[in-house]
Symmetry: C2
Subunit: 619 residues, 2 copies
């Protein structure tokens, strides 16, 4: 294509751009609708393996799709069993203390925490896709459940009703999850940005820790609210009620748990030490109480299903929607068996992964271990002091406050950091529900702002090339006299078309001011580089018409460069190509600039007055 001085040959010389900016071949509406639906709901094409298969095979594949155990079950061998046995017992040692602690968080009888680590893992082992996910109750969901149910029914006064509500809520949560999965609407969770999740989870973890102050300090009366101010007020207004024995014991166990965690991080080979620590604390604490005839009896207890993260480590794929169906079914069935809300807590799955699990059989092993505990060991837990459970919860929650991620956000994208902090503050200073709503709303607002204020930039010519780039990114790029080259960096929708019109006109105003001040040749052409405009809607097309008219009135000619397939289609249907003239749409910015330069140097006067009369319209 030569250099920037390329002289554009006229039609008489046989010159014509080698390739015209093409309007793509038309596609029947049904076909493009089918494609759109496929991209929206089936981006990973999960039915690809079903193509060209006999009917019997399709049935088998279908069964395997919903019950993966049908696929990996027959291939199971004793070598895998050995690894799964070890990891299963390891996570069972976590499941038991966490189960009873988190059930306490939800104001439910602690035995439910154990049930919930028995039935649901069995269901998941049949239907789930992740080899590493360890299923059980989570702190944040338990807290949420306790807060929301507690707003309507007092657990102490109406235990049976409360229980039934909890199971019903779990059932419907399961129905909702399974429906989302079946309707392939799992992508909805994509709308929560990572920054939001970090802030929300950190806030929820903080709130859970604050709640444990009741157990650690041995207080009887405590606020029902979860926000920081209420909790601190409740704590510090009862200083005389603090029980130093609880406090000392609690801090002691907490220190023990944190030290084992730190040690396990430094020496990953000894992960099992931090895994065994909670159960050890429970046993120790129960023994202590039993031997000391301590009065406090009874048992007074987040996670993100992280199957995909572990799949990433171990290099296999997880279909998010399929997982949701599995987890939803798990909850629906579980709720019929006195289990409450379960999912796959990250921390427990991390332990499972480190313990070397090979398949979901680790969940089966854990379930069996929990069953044995239920049958033989429950009397032990009558003596477990609350402080131990509180320490276990605090130690688990501290791991969820991901300040490393927050610092990383601050460094890379300060707006994302703001989003994170806002979600955190919403949870800690208001309530978990308000924090969640704030998190979702901020995420969506952020998205809308992205769309509503796309970037526009001025392009300049990199010396000795036909490459045009952003003058801010490449300060050595020169501008071309008489031509203003703008790039629009996003699809053009109703949400940003008004803004774009204002901004483009302002670019033209500023350029004309600059030219007036510097005495350069007057502006005649405005080239719009459409490479980054992925799509355009009817508002966008109207906006282009308006800009064309405004520019025409100012004696300027609008030129388009490199519009994509979708955009060309829409511009064509919207009759804009007719109105602008197909000859003013070029394949590259270089061609557009060359054509304009040719006309500029041919000394043709104001070309917008009567387009039909101008001879070069045949070019």
């Amino acid at each position: 294509m030569g250099n920037a001085d390329y002289v554009y040959p006229s039609a008489a010389e046989g010159g014509e751009s080698l390739h015209k900016a093409a309007i793509p071949p038309p596609q029947p509406f049904v076909k493009s609708l089918k494609n759109s639906l496929k991209e929206t709901f089936f981006p990973d094409d999960p039915l690809r393996q079903f193509k060209n298969q006999p009917a019997r095979r399709k049935i088998v594949l279908g069964l395997q799709y919903f019950f993966p155990v049908v696929e990996w079950g027959p291939r199971y061998n004793p070598g895998l069993l050995k690894s799964d046995l070890i990891s299963g017992i390891t996570i069972a040692s976590l499941a038991i203390p966490q189960g009873i602690s988190y059930a306490k968080l939800a104001n439910l009888p602690p035995i439910l925490g154990l049930y919930s680590s028995f039935i649901p893992p069995l269901i998941y082992a049949m239907m789930g896709s992740s080899k590493d996910l360890a299923v059980g109750t989570v702190a944040v969901a338990s807290l949420l459940m306790g807060a929301m149910l507690g707003a309507d029914v007092n657990a102490a006064q109406n235990p049976t009703l409360y229980l039934h509500l909890a199971f019903t809520a779990t059932f419907f949560a399961g129905v909702f999850q399974a429906s989302l999965g079946l309707l392939r609407l799992g992508f909805i969770v994509d709308f929560l940005s990572h920054a939001t999740i970090v802030g929300f989870m950190g806030g929820a973890a903080t709130v859970v820790c604050l709640q444990q102050l009741k157990g650690i300090l041995g207080l009887t009366h405590f606020t029902h609210a979860t926000d920081l101010v209420s909790v601190l007020r409740s704590v510090f207004s009862q200083i005389h009620e603090w029980r130093w024995q609880s406090g000392v014991l609690g801090c002691g166990f907490l220190l023990f748990l944190l030290i084992t965690k730190y040690f396990s991080k430094k020496k990953p080979k000894f992960f099992w030490i931090s895994a065994m620590a909670p159960l050890t604390s429970v046993i120790l604490g129960s023994l202590l109480v039993f031997l000391a005839h301590a009065e406090k009896h009874g048992v007074e207890v987040e996670g993100i299903a992280a199957g995909r993260s572990f799949a990433m480590f171990k290099h296999y794929n997880i279909d998010g929607n399929k997982e949701m169906v599995a987890i939803g079914t798990m909850n629906m069935v579980g709720s019929c068996f006195s289990c409450y809300l379960t999912t796959g807590p990250f921390s427990r799955s991390a332990v499972n992964y480190n313990a070397g699990c090979k398949t979901a059989v680790s969940n089966v092993v854990m379930a069996i271990a929990v069953m044995l505990t239920l049958l033989f060991l429950t009397p032990l837990f009558y003596y477990t002091p609350i402080v131990v459970l509180s320490s276990i919860i605090i130690s688990a929650m501290l791991g969820l406050i991901d300040y490393d991620a927050a610092i990383h956000l601050w460094k890379v994208d300060k707006f994302d950091f703001l989003v994170c902090i806002a979600a955190y503050a919403g949870v800690v200073f208001a309530s978990v529900e308000i924090g969640l709503v704030i998190a979702v709303v901020i995420s969506l607002l952020r998205l809308l702002l992205f769309v509503a204020r796309p970037r526009t930039l001025v392009l300049g010519n990199l010396p000795n090339s036909t490459v045009y780039r952003n003058v801010e990114q490449y300060p050595n790029a020169d501008n071309v006299p008489g031509i203003l080259i703008l790039e629009i960096d996003a699809p053009i929708y109703f949400a940003n078309s008004s803004y774009l019109r204002e901004r483009i006109i302002r670019w033209v105003d500023e350029e004309e001011d600059r030219i007036k001040a510097s005495g350069e040749s007057t502006l005649q052409y405005v080239v719009l580089d459409m490479s980054a405009v992925g799509n355009i809607d009817t508002s966008g097309i109207s906006m282009f018409e308006e800009i064309k008219n405004i520019l025409t009135r100012r004696g300027l000619k609008m030129v388009l460069a490199n519009p994509g397939a979708e955009v060309m289609k829409k511009l064509d249907k919207g009759k804009f190509i007719e109105s602008l003239g197909h000859e003013w749409i070029y394949l590259t910015v270089a061609e557009a600039v060359a054509a304009c330069n040719y006309r500029l140097h041919s000394c043709k006067p104001n070309l917008v007055t009567d387009e039909k009369a101008e001879p070069w319209n045949n070019v």
Copy 2:
């Protein structure tokens, strides 16, 4: 840059890409924050004229900004007055019948409709920017007000309370509008797409027409609901109550109004005929009733502030936020003077424009004409039959049902058409509020879907050039052996990063399947063209890391081409450039492909095993 066979010189030969894909010079955070805020809230830079002006001038400019009359008032002359007089009287002839009709829609005393065409236009003349906007009550807002207030207070039983509620509602509507304008949040209305507005307005107009069936058929009892089913049921269950005299009279006047409208459209010179028609009908109808001693006494209005559309015709700029402040003030002050919700109806402004108005003084003339009517002519309206008012309303509403726009939407963008129909159906079959909510939600969902499912395309090389374009748009583009070139057509955010990861991996899978089937050389490089990626956030950067790892495990090398300024900044801060290697980021797709070709033809084996050992890393 030559052709596609360009051999990339090695470092030894002194070859190096002329321009490296550059990381832009760093900008202090405060400066970039200031720029972002300016782009979001002041895209049209309204304070540009204030730069470099002495203090006294700034005060004058400030006064002119809020009270444009200060600017155009001193330049007023008798020539302008003549045009404004004619147009003012014309729109007054519309204002009077429409005012009393629309007040009836809102269940308010008809005289309020006249007050509302008196005070508010005077305020607007002082503060508004549009020369063509004719201010007054609108049918849709009146209907909404009647429906919403009527849900709480019965206008017949509690007229005083109802009245006070109406004024209070108007006052707060004014406060809200003015605040939006002052806080520069006017861009919020951009989030309602044109398709949504067409559907919503069409539905609202249909609902208003349905309501008029009561007046036309002379029914006493009528449903309070507004949806189609309730209204038809109410109408057809009282067939015996229909008064044929009302029906005949109503249809007669309606025919008269529609004929004059049609005639005015065909011969625009006679626009005043259709403008005078409503007032004529009122006078005729009142005379008829008076002479016939008809029993029905008493007196039983939409529009979009279209100042900007007319500004477009007459080539001057309107600052949307400033207009909102003007209209908000108009309502706040008006509510203290027994006026209810007013704005600038499109139909009335169209008449104003056609009548040749020159400045906002046309509003002043209209106000004066209305005042004279109030002082001397109100006894006339006691005799105005409801059927006439109903006909006037129906004839005005039919103009709001923009089926041309709907057909255009069907042709250009079928999804937009669906949005339009959904908003229409929501209003007609449920209620105006539900229809509005549906309209807003669908608009936002459409936006979110745009963002969540960006296009990705395969690029091919146009023969005899270094241009790479979409193979679907340019079927003659060839693909390059061993290299897969993908273009991502939108900014990468949390909302679409999961999808993009799935889709890119799927493109790679499909390409590898195709290669296996056709026996071509194996895939070694995946070039991602980032020209259209305007921005990237932390989720996007994580997604790139994940893709890089997945590709590396499959023996493929990831290469980036033409990342923009923002993207380079973020990739740098997110340490991705370090992790990928800056030498694998090229300025153009052509350079990237040339570099990969060079390596392919140098017959170097699998280069991802140990990058440090490979000699060409110095290139």
